[in-house]
């Protein structure tokens, strides 16, 4: 088995292509929403900016993953081998991306396109993945934004076309420097001390290899604890007052542990969500609207909110909350009944969060947009999302309650995907004329209450019977002992 096979194993070509396609489609649909960006500029920003960055992330992930283990420093030649593979992958992918991009957008010179694509693809090689995440993702995001703006400046393509060879040389030089810094001896020494698993490995591990995912999370938390300046900074500190005996008290304990366990929640804590929402709503989007000469941009954006995207997002958030939930520690001094109540309350709050979070995110920009433009939208433009939320409200508890066993996680993912597709297809035609009516809302409320009650019963029963260590229930019993093998013959005289 040669080294290329090992590299392909890390690269996971099928997953990488699949995720690249998904991310590219999302980026393209987002670019189309940007005001004053004509179709040519959209193609330019997606094929020459978004695509290379996305592909670069997957290449970097595959090349970096083996370097982020302690044994990486012991494997002779690993650093150089990964450097060679990264360079080779970048070269091949950049050439392929250039061919595709040139085929789709023939207006840009191939040499300039190759330079631009190579530079952006190599950007992720500088990622250091500190704290187990994509540390330079904000920087990449900033570059995307910057280049998107550049892209819809009309002169950008012309400027590239005027000097294709210098552009190619700059791209090559940037890629070479990125590789040099990304795989320097010192950089690799730091990498070896930080746990990191590439995006293409992480995503399916949650579903198909929970043990891999759990071990990686534990390692990341341990690393975070080890490198944290103080324990309090991570929010692990138990309150000084003793934990009470009520379910609510224990829910607080569980929340703190989840808070520590799930890094996403730490980054996107309620405070973080509030701040980022405020920044997006009160600074970024209005500025974008004003810059584009469309004061009612927000209102237009909200009015045209893609219902399918919203519903899919809600399902993804549900899946995330569901998969990242771990049972309360088996050593907690709480009964199985209380454990069940805790799990139910966790999922109920997750359900509420899932339904309300996208609505809140749309409501605030809508409010600001209307204030700025003076253009009123019926129901703040929330009707399409409300339709989605109301349709999903009774279905999500059913999906969760039916699949509590870890072994059924793939089925849960599949079920929720089907639900999201069906709901989005069903409500697509209803969205515009639909207005929430009291009768309809009442029916949905009754159905949701029934669905939540059913989920609660399922969870209580699950917690009554499950293995507290693995969280599983209904595992096959140990093989029956063959009675004949254990029969002793007593010798008689």
């Amino acid at each position: 088995m040669n080294a290329l096979t090992h590299h392909l194993r890390f690269l996971r070509p099928l997953r990488s292509v699949l995720f690249t396609a998904i991310c590219f489609t999302m980026a393209e649909s987002m670019a189309k929403k940007i005001p004053r960006l004509d179709s040519g500029a959209v193609e330019l920003s997606t094929y020459f900016v978004a695509l290379p960055i996305i592909v670069g992330l997957f290449i970097a992930g595959a090349a970096h993953e083996p370097l982020h283990r302690p044994f990486a420093l012991l494997l002779p030649g690993l650093r150089l081998r990964q450097l060679r593979f990264a360079a080779l992958s970048l070269g091949v992918a950049a050439l392929m991306a250039t061919v595709i991009a040139h085929w789709m957008v023939p207006t840009l010179s191939p040499a300039a396109a190759l330079g631009l694509i190579l530079a952006l693809m190599a950007l992720s090689q500088l990622n250091r993945h500190r704290q187990g995440g994509y540390a330079s993702a904000p920087a990449v995001g900033f570059f995307v934004w910057l280049l998107l703006n550049l892209a819809f400046a009309q002169g950008f393509a012309n400027a590239l076309n005027r000097s294709p060879i210098p552009c190619l040389l700059v791209g090559l030089a940037f890629a070479a420097l990125s590789l040099r810094f990304g795989y320097s001896r010192e950089s690799c020494r730091r990498r070896a001390q930080t746990p990191f698993v590439s995006l293409q490995t992480q995503l399916f591990s949650h579903v198909f290899s929970p043990a891999v995912s759990v071990r990686w999370q534990a390692e990341t938390i341990a690393h975070g604890l080890f490198t944290a300046p103080s324990v309090e900074a991570l929010g692990h500190q138990r309150p000084s007052r003793p934990t009470g005996f009520t379910t609510r008290d224990w829910l607080g304990v569980l929340r703190r542990l989840e808070f520590a366990r799930w890094r996403f929640e730490r980054y996107f804590s309620p405070l973080g969500l509030a701040i980022s929402t405020a920044v997006i709503c009160f600074a970024f989007l209005p500025a974008l609207g004003l810059a584009s000469g469309q004061p009612n941009y927000l209102a237009a954006l909200v009015n045209g909110a893609d219902l399918r995207v919203a519903i899919t997002m809600q399902c993804i958030v549900t899946v995330g909350l569901f998969l990242n939930f771990n049972q309360p520690d088996p050593l907690f001094p709480i009964s199985r009944a209380r454990r069940g109540e805790l799990v139910f309350m966790h999922f109920a709050s997750a359900w509420l969060f899932t339904l309300l979070w996208p609505i809140a995110l749309i409501f605030l920009p809508s409010l600001v947009g209307q204030l700025l433009s003076g253009h009123a939208l019926p129901g703040f433009g929330l009707y399409p999302l409300l339709v989605g939320a109301l349709a999903l409200a009774p279905l999500l508890p059913l999906a969760i309650g039916a699949n509590l066993k870890p072994a059924r996680r793939p089925l849960t993912i599949f079920g929720l995907t089907i639900v999201s597709v069906l709901v989005s297809l069903y409500v697509r035609d209803l969205a515009q004329p639909y207005r929430p009516e009291p009768v309809g809302c009442s029916i949905i409320a009754i159905l949701s209450a029934a669905s939540l009650t059913w989920m609660r019963r399922r969870i209580l029963r699950h917690c009554r019977d499950c293995d507290l260590v693995t969280g599983s229930v209904g595992d096959p019993p140990p093989a029956r002992l063959d009675a004949s093998a254990h029969t002793y013959t007593v010798a008689t005289r």
Binding site: R9, R69, L73, L74, G77, A211, V212, V214
Partner: protein, 318 residues
């Protein structure tokens, strides 16, 4: 043992090729915690060194520094003749390290991980890998994330041994292994020693097992070297004396400086002593007019005495 080749704590000169590891006044500080304090020692090639110490004594840190995984805060360390921060392929192909807690690529199966690691070593011994896989009962088709701690440790041993290293560093390699596999592992290490004459540094709390293979002992306590001697010397110098009084006479008080501990009644005393005098027991018996029976101490029994005896004069020569 020839003193010129024995592990010493004297100031290391330019690393000779026969020296597997040298440390020159290395100190390692993690935040506010000092793991190693001015440690100086040489480990010549061809020895099996037992690295002993209590929890947090600095054993793992010292091994990690030797493998180049961690760099000392101050001082210099050389492994296989090269500074540890500059270790490269020529040295790394001759270095094996079995970590206390193996961190692998969890989504790989054992076989995949072994193949991945083997691809970096030109001298990887596939026959040895196959044999050890069978001997240590390693489940090669399972994913690493699904393995028990014991099986993970076995995989770590395979990864550290199969490229036939010249220097093998073992950090608590047996803590999760059952007694049968531990025995087999010791056999494997002895085989490596016989076939490859490799240098082995083993850190373990299972002293009865360690005692079977080591020929040199380095003991650490709170980041300092407190003992640095050959096992033979230690076994000859440490002893337990059972002292019996003559008829109708109580035992006198014993105040000799080589007595480390004593438990006594009126007519019987149990002394642990450390002395390099070969006829110390006879001299003692004659001087106090008592009967003395001597017994060698095992490494397990010696360990608390080594740690309690602060620092060994021979170990801290700058």
């Amino acid at each position: 043992m020839n003193p010129s080749t024995a592990p010493t704590s004297t100031s290391p000169a330019t690393p000779a090729p026969t020296v597997a590891f040298t440390a020159d006044r290395i100190t390692k500080i993690y935040g506010e915690h000092t793991a190693l304090t001015s440690v100086t020692l040489n480990i010549p090639a061809g020895h099996v060194v037992g690295l002993l110490g209590r929890n947090g004594a600095g054993k793992s840190t010292l091994l990690q520094i030797a493998a180049g995984l961690t760099l000392p805060t101050s001082g210099t360390a050389h492994t296989l003749g090269r500074r540890t921060d500059l270790l490269d392929s020529p040295e790394l192909t001759r270095l094996g390290f079995v970590m206390q807690e193996g961190k692998f690529i969890e989504w790989m199966t054992v076989a995949q991980h072994l193949a991945f690691t083997a691809s970096f070593y030109p001298r990887w011994d596939h026959e040895l890998q196959h044999r050890l896989t069978t001997q240590l009962e390693v489940p090669t088709t399972r994913k690493l994330a699904d393995l028990s701690p014991g099986d993970r440790q076995k995989v770590g041993i395979l990864l550290g041994v199969c490229h036939r290293p010249a220097l093998l560093l073992l950090d608590e390699p047996m803590s999760a292994l059952d007694p049968i596999v531990r025995r087999r592992l010791l056999d494997v290490l002895l085989e490596r020693l016989r076939d490859d004459a490799c240098t082995i540094v083993i850190s373990s709390h299972l002293l009865n097992d360690v005692e079977k293979i080591v020929d040199w002992i380095i003991a650490l306590d709170t980041g300092r070297v407190v003992e640095n001697s050959s096992l033979d010397d230690l076994q000859e110098s440490f002893a337990e004396w059972t002292v019996t009084a003559p008829e109708a006479a109580p035992l006198p008080a014993f105040t000799e400086p080589f007595i480390l501990t004593q438990q006594r009644t009126d007519r019987l005393a149990r002394l642990t002593v450390r002395t390099s005098e070969p006829d110390a027991a006879e001299t003692f018996a004659v001087a106090h007019r008592v009967g003395v029976q001597t017994r060698r101490l095992s490494l397990d029994e010696m360990f608390p005495l080594l740690i309690a005896a602060k620092p060994a004069a021979s170990a801290l020569v700058p």
